[in-house]
Symmetry: C2
Subunit: 115 residues, 2 copies
Amino acid sequence: MPEDCKVETALEILVGKWKPIILYQLFSQGTMRFSELQKALPDITKKMLTSQLRELEYHDIVHREIYLQIPPKVEYSITEYGMRMAPLLQAMNEWGMSHIEHLNELYGAEMQAKR
Amino acid sequence: MPEDCKVETALEILVGKWKPIILYQLFSQGTMRFSELQKALPDITKKMLTSQLRELEYHDIVHREIYLQIPPKVEYSITEYGMRMAPLLQAMNEWGMSHIEHLNELYGAEMQAKR
DNA sequence: CCGGATCCCAACCGATACTG
DNA sequence: CAGTATCGGTTGGGATCCGG
């Protein structure tokens, strides 16, 4: 039965213009401050960075640590549970890379995996 | 470097309100006619079914076989290349199922993995 | 420094009607 | 049967400004 397909559940968590790249940063850099994420992702607005992080936090993928001080300091990191996503992200990344090659073979290399 | 993250490439192909369930149908049923897909997905409109299938076809995941006859007959199936997505979809499905359980533990079972 | 609130636009999606 | 055309609603995301 179609209801048994939970691919969409996995997608929910990853879908969002900035989520994959945010996760990539946190996975590779470890703990990062809000401003460090901003620096790493120059084109994202504060609003988007906040909302994307909040959704990841809701799903227990990202942990938000608030330091009560002036000026404020907030650090983000991958949760222990979030670490369990690593193999999946790795698999998606590898599949994505090979798919880009495949598209180049199909349609030629003059395009860069645009759809 | 962030540009090496191709998770988004994999997402591009799966994102779309009906793509996962369409793939689920084709993977489990094999070849299906347009009308059979419509029957299996009662809430999808022809327009959406067509457009989602076209995008999957562009990415060489789905094959479209047209029979020139009256009335028309068109069959859709997973391409040989598309078959290589099976392990990834399987992994995403399993991760999704376990994540639903995890959310239930976190927030209680009164909600069904809604965000 | 780390956001929230508001407004706005573009892309996505649905309903309906029409066609080879 | 298997689509296309058109229109209109909804939602995700960006720009800007305000606040603790």
